[in-house]
Symmetry: C2
Amino acid sequence: MCESNVYLKEGENETLIMESVDSIEPCENGLKLMDILGRQLFVPARIKDMTLLNHRIVVEKLS
Amino acid sequence: MCESNVYLKEGENETLIMESVDSIEPCENGLKLMDILGRQLFVPARIKDMTLLNHRIVVEKLS
């Protein structure tokens, strides 16, 4: 399966905020995440970087 | 493998601009894409949406 984990980076710290994310949709004030079970999460953040082979997406808070 | 294909959406059309993308890094004026062979591509675009299980990332030109 090719879902990714989404981490929120704050300074040097990274916190796992959602596992097994399938879809990401940037919107005006942040990101809509949905995992493989259909659970949805909104985070007021933007994508910082992602490496899909590592199943890893890093987001940072919108300033 | 969990790489994705990146499509540029213009109006109703979608054009495949890079296959087998591993990493995406948003930067000031667009997106830096890198595929699994290390080839890099810059596109003046932003992420519109992505569905990782479908290996599909859609971007749109920055206005």
